[in-house]
Symmetry: C2
Subunit: 362 residues, 2 copies
Amino acid sequence: MTDTLQPLAPGATIGILGGGQLGRMLATAAARLGFHAHVYDPDPAAPARETALHHTAAPYDDEAALRRFAGAVDVVTYEFENIPPAALDAIERLAPIRPSRRSLVITRDRLKEKAFLEESGLAVAPHAPVEDMATLEEAVRRIGLPAILKTRELGYDGKGQARITTPEELAPCWEAVGRVPAVLEAVVPFEKEISVVIARGGDGTTAAFDPAENLHEGGILRLSKVPAAIAPDLADRARAMAARVAEALGHVGVLAVEMFVTQSGLVVNEIAPRVHNSGHWTEAVCPIDQFEQHIRAIAGWPLGRGERIADAEMVNLLGEEVLEAPRLSRDPHLRIHLYGKSEIRPDRKMGHHTRIVPWSRG
Amino acid sequence: MTDTLQPLAPGATIGILGGGQLGRMLATAAARLGFHAHVYDPDPAAPARETALHHTAAPYDDEAALRRFAGAVDVVTYEFENIPPAALDAIERLAPIRPSRRSLVITRDRLKEKAFLEESGLAVAPHAPVEDMATLEEAVRRIGLPAILKTRELGYDGKGQARITTPEELAPCWEAVGRVPAVLEAVVPFEKEISVVIARGGDGTTAAFDPAENLHEGGILRLSKVPAAIAPDLADRARAMAARVAEALGHVGVLAVEMFVTQSGLVVNEIAPRVHNSGHWTEAVCPIDQFEQHIRAIAGWPLGRGERIADAEMVNLLGEEVLEAPRLSRDPHLRIHLYGKSEIRPDRKMGHHTRIVPWSRG
């Protein structure tokens, strides 16, 4: 599947659905290539408004606002996968959406995503669909315990998930996820978590960044580092799997594939059709980072190669940890990046820092 | 001289006088540290408006606008040295200006700047003041020909300069620079041009980036590369000279010192009390670049060390060269940076690119 996009010239405007930190970093990358960014986000204080030329502050069901937005931009992209389909309908008549809706439709639904991955020949955790208590009990019989119940849609950062350890927990867990369509997943015993951030251009070329080794705490990414402590052939295989996902989706833009390293090989945990927290280290050590790769891909520009020029370790600043930034700034090897969010909430992603470990000179 | 600045907390607002590419990159660096940027520039389409949260589009003699601006920010800095003193007067009553006015007063006038450098024990080109044709003739008798006539104020990118080779050219050159107070400078035979970009904090600490080797064409910077092909002790001496300048000015922020490498040692050409075109490579290969160093200094944060993690060569994109950007993007080792200027004029700085030469892994 190829999408022979006419390259956008500097001066064109890139529309971004979602004005959080990912939209903010996409807008900055767009500006650096001479594009203007127009962010759409219901929050008048959305972090991305700060680094974008234009900001439409309107809800995702405001059709008139969506049409004005789409009419004012040359291409529309997004920082999150849970965009209401009706909003996409309104936009699509006026501006191309990249990555395409296929990438969104598959990745916003855990069950569709797993089916897609299996059809693409990639291993996923044993899982079963859950519609009600009866199908949940049936799923537990098939998958066994412990297992994790996850909503099919709208989950992120550990939200919409409940771990089931004993049969007594079935009912409270079903309540906890909100009695909505869900998937029961086996707990995969893994040695490590890794992720590959990859870009695919409209011409079908792909360029992957090095796999990052990730550490989650409470369902939220805490740390990503490169290089991952894995064998070179496993890194190659992870990259190839990410390329297969991008290819099978016909994806144009950046996507991230999270994987478990298990005794029996790599198991895909989930995919995100966008720039990803586990790729934030790229801004510190890559000549062309994940944000610029995404803008290049959707603008029809040639992709960078995903090269890096140093080792790196990225750590998220959650909630009140952001208040440590001035103290952290004493360490001259940390590159600090804050998102300009005024309201601190527990576990809210407020910023990150990347420790840069230079290679040796000459 | 020290300026014990209370560190600004993220969420504070940094005012920037001047909304060109330097203001734009300063605003981006400020946002990355969680500060808000407020740009003041008469041009409603100033490049920096795009990456700053606030933009006041008003002339530099609009006292009411200046007061509103100064009242809305926590500190004021600037991207250029030719700010009308009356504008600074209006601001200074409401917000601190960093770097201080001393840095501006000395560097906006070539004659004062040279006197300051000589008092600081640094070598400058033989020169003499010019007020009219009589003093110009007198200056030529002292300095000899060829020589360069430069206006004392408001010169940049080779503007306000005329090269005098023969006595017949005196009158036309005096016309060419506009018959305003000027300096006649001897032409210094140099082997190379270098510059040092250095930051000085309010606590008096300094951190210099590696000297860059520069190439000018028609008075405009064409190329800067690191490392400069000079002996290590000369590089150390250049750094020490830049530190002496920063110290003697009591400068808080980044400044740049341009020097000639001559047979008799280093001769200072000029100083700029701000981030500088010959330091643009730092954004590509330094964990903390010149723009962030400047923001850190004026915000009272600790400085980075000026370290870099790769070699680099920065080339300016002038005028229509910017149209080459999509073609240049095919080279995956170039980091492209455009300024979002819609109007292309001959020799206008439209962007730059930096070729990154990685060090070896492990």
